[in-house]
């Protein structure tokens, strides 16, 4: 069992010594102890009740100008040293096929401790209390006639990580993540409709304690969500054509994720993800020349605590670079990428943007979104005021499907529910709404964004990238926004 920083330091020392003896020019070690809990109900019964604990370490070495990585759950000295030797062997093999040596942008070594700010340790809440909350929500959802399936979920994670590098970094971080949500399905005739709350795909997720669940008003919204799922059957089909559209904030968060967050990843831009996740249209000459969006579009990549409790909030990334805020789009102009020490060096940046993260101890860190957020409008504007100022549009709420090409130009999103807006009012519900477009054309059509009161830092817990694939949580702050003349409805054409 791992239990103390000094023991972790000793373990890392064994590994780093082997790397040094084998001739590594750089090495780092991460030791991780993670615990998670998943609870779920389904139509009044337990859908999931599970705990998981995983401990292990990895060593990443740079040798002969190439990378090697090895990991193991065995923390005894012999295993640690063997694993470090394996990483060195792998680096040596990597060096057989290279065009140039890997170089790292400089970074000062640090010694630091950091823990996610939280009020209530989610593992301190009794299982009975957790299940009682889910069962209450479940009853509310199923009290609506026509709801054919009700699912609720609650998830907690605690990850403690010790990071040591051959340059002298010594960082101890503990992160807490909480998430909760629910979905009501209704099957009738030839249709399956659903509504989710607070968001689809597991609800809302933040790096926070149990207090997140108290803030979400889960029970209060359950009946409405069930009623909307059933009402969708009798709603009009979303029309096809070109319309002005308004995206509520969780859908705008996913729009940011797919059409800004991924294309700004420098490993994609540089071709490192070409075989799986794809590349990016944001080739290097577009930095500080491309008009990505309208003047109202201001996007940051901000991993700092002051940005909020997003799934991309931390003090240091997984190669020991401090959390930063990088301007990505400034008044519509494309101004920054997500970078690591290696990719920063490749394009001549002075320093990494601090975005290298790994799913767990057995995965090597790769560039991941931190909190990629659009800044709220400075002029006070609520969603209701935005609707009131709109002659004709469709409002899209809560993602149902999402897809984008491998360079991140063409996207199509569907949402669970839509609303037709006419003369400043929501006049009717629409079912099966979808919209599509080309990334830069879409962001250049944004002509209004709501202000801070409507801004929410959403969590996307299921972002897949890398080979072997890693799932990572990312944060996306957004307020509702309006876009002019967007193609609507082609999913059903």
């Amino acid at each position: 069992m791992v239990d103390s920083t000094s023991a972790m330091k000793e373990l890392a020392g064994w590994a780093l010594n082997i790397a040094n003896q084998r001739g590594a020019t750089y090495a780092d070690v991460r030791v991780i102890d993670e615990r998670s809990r998943a609870l779920a109900t389904k139509n009044g019964k337990i859908g999931n009740a599970s705990d998981s604990r995983s401990q292990g370490f990895n060593i990443r070495v740079l040798m002969d100008g190439a990378w090697g990585f090895a990991s193991s759950a065995e923390l005894e000295r012999s295993s640690v040293e063997a694993t470090a030797g394996r990483a060195a062997d792998i680096a040596k093999a990597s060096a057989r096929v290279k065009q140039s040596d890997v170089r790292l942008a400089p970074e000062k070594p640090v010694r630091a401790e950091w823990t996610t700010p939280y009020r209530i340790d989610p593992f301190s809440i009794s299982i009975e209390q957790n299940l009682a909350l889910l069962e209450t929500i479940d009853r509310e959802l199923r009290s609506v006639q026509g709801v054919t399936l009700a699912e609720t979920n609650m998830n907690f994670r605690r990850e403690e990580q010790w990071f040591f590098s051959s340059e002298g970094s010594d960082i101890h971080q503990t992160k807490y993540t909480s998430g909760a949500g629910y979905v009501a399905y209704s099957f009738a005739g030839n249709e399956i409709q659903k509504r989710s709350y607070p968001n689809s795909f597991g609800g809302q997720w933040q790096n926070k304690g149990y207090e997140l669940l108290d803030e979400l008003k889960l029970v209060e919204n359950a009946r409405r969500i069930g009623e909307e799922a059933v009402a969708l059957h009798s709603a009009e089909q979303c029309p096809q054509g070109v319309f002005d559209i308004i995206l509520e904030s969780s859908q705008l968060g996913l729009q940011i994720h797919e059409s800004i967050g991924h294309p700004i990843e420098l490993d994609r831009v540089l071709g490192m993800e070409a075989n799986f996740a794809g590349t990016s249209f944001l080739t290097l000459e577009k930095l500080r020349t491309l008009k990505y969006g309208s003047e109202l579009v201001n996007v940051v990549a901000d991993a700092r605590e002051e940005h909020g409790p997003g799934l991309g909030t931390f003090a240091f990334d997984d190669e020991g670079v401090p959390a930063q805020s990088t301007p990505i789009i400034s008044n519509g102009l494309f101004t920054g990428y997500l970078s690591s020490r290696e990719t920063a060096s490749l394009i001549g940046l002075e320093r990494s943007g601090g975005t290298l993260r790994a799913e767990s101890w057995n995965r090597l860190p790769i560039i991941r979104m931190t909190n990629i957020s659009i800044l709220p409008g400075e002029t006070p504007l609520s969603l209701e005021q935005l609707i009131a100022s709109t002659d004709q549009a469709i409002l899209f709420q809560t993602n149902r499907s999402w897809s984008i090409d491998d360079k991140r130009y063409n996207f199509q999103f569907g949402t669970e529910i839509g609303w037709e807006i006419k003369n400043g009012k929501r006049i009717r519900m629409l079912k099966n709404p979808s919209y599509s477009g080309i990334t830069t054309e879409f962001w250049n059509s944004m002509d209004a964004i709501c202000s801070r009161d409507e801004w929410t830092l959403w969590g996307t817990p299921n972002c897949g990238k890398g080979q072997p694939q890693q799932v990572m949580g990312t944060g996306h702050g957004a307020s509702p926004a309006r876009f002019r003349r967007v193609k609507v409805g082609s999913a059903y054409s």
Binding site: M1, N43, K45, I46, N48, A49, S50, D51, R53, S54, Q55, A66, W67, G68, A70, S71, S72, A73, E74, R86, I90, K92, A93, S94, R96, V97, K98, Q99, S100, I127, E128, L131, T148, L149, Y185, E191, I192, G271, M272, A274, N275, G278, L364, I366, R400, S401, S403, I404, D405, D406, K407, N410, Q412, S436, Q467, P468, S490, A491, Y492, S493
Partner: protein
Amino acid sequence: MLTRDQAAEIFSRIRKYAAADELECLFYGGRSALTRFANNTIHQNMAEENYGVSVRSAFGGRTARATTNKFDDASLQEVVSASESLARVQEPDPDLLPIPSSEEAQGRYSPPSNGAAAPEGNKLPSRHFEETSNLTPAQRADAVGQVVAIAQKRNLTAAGIFANSENIEGIFNSRGLSRWHRQTSAEVSITMLAGDSSGWQKANSPDIAKLSPAHLAQIAAEKAAKSAAPREIAPGKYTVILEPAAVLDAVGFAFYDFGGLAILDQRSFLNNRIGSKLFGENISIWDDVSHPQQSGSPFDGEGMRRSRVQLVEQGVVKRLVYSRASAARMTQSGHAAKVGLVETTGHGFPIPNEIGEAPMNVVFEPPQEPKTVEQMIASTERGILVTRLWYIREVDPYEKIVTGMTRDGTFLIEGGKLVCGLRNFRFNQSLIEMLSQVEAMSTPVRTSGEESLDMVVPAMKIRDFNFTEVTKF
């Protein structure tokens, strides 16, 4: 590697700490390595080794699971305690079944439809190959070097992976059930990039001897070269020829609906459609873990033996797969008379779970008159050849409309010949309609994609495939 004897010893220690009425332990893990390359360089290269045990405790209608990757006594006591704590506080579920005995888990053997004899002892042929598990980083690097040389010879840039692994799955329970499976896997995926085009190939097998990275690289390079300077044509309904990887990733979105619980939950596109002719008469589909081109373990998440099940016969959905619990519930439900034969088939996921079960070893039946992709092209006056599909997501769960993009080699066919590369399309296509419009198929082959489990699927020529938009490259 964790051995069966070591797992049995761990299970016996767990039993000593357990107070639950019933106990089930799943063992998982293995050794794996993956060499990743891009820009003609190995840029990521990793190895891992990890094993875990997942403990399920049950107390009269209440059950839960806890997992650890540490096998010392303190960690095992902790994992048992966590599992029991989660189970004890639940309301009893009268539908929760006792864990299966060893005899029950043997199940019923379903002989292959071609009349072939059952494998001796109903056991699978070995899926463990020493040559696969012993592959070294240097051997993987040398193979990548060959791929890069092929790329450089044609002024292309190569990206991809070469991976190998050796894994175990095991299950022990307090009613004497004990199952163990080990297998190896090797996988190669290659993308060749040119200035304005690309080509891709991927293959995997338990046996490294069945893979040829250089051969895959040649095909991917050829596709990149042939699709250079892609033309843009208007979206619309076209005759398409989907290579097996494109078929796999599209149809994979249908099979989670072939479980009994999906029907009971009314979240399946097969609700009210089982027994009716849903697809073309040329479509027959099995789930068959024993198929020589399939892989995976012969038992499910409770240790039940996986049966061979015919899901679709000549376009008619005949049967579903079931866990023990779903079969029991289905028998007593109002759906029972409408869903064909209901029995445990050994396709359940570890309990508790929300999905129930799904086919994991899909095999398309060979067509009566198989056509090669080249023959399909030659018979097409105007159409589109698709190498792979990408970022596929469900748009409509009941009409089974999925959207996604073409990628890495999309070609215009005119007059029976490939004419040029095309800019990539977005599609919005009902899988029900797609499988009703298949005009020709190749002999099914083991296929690996990015969005679905490996299957044995054919290439397909399909009429009126619905492309709705075109992208910028």
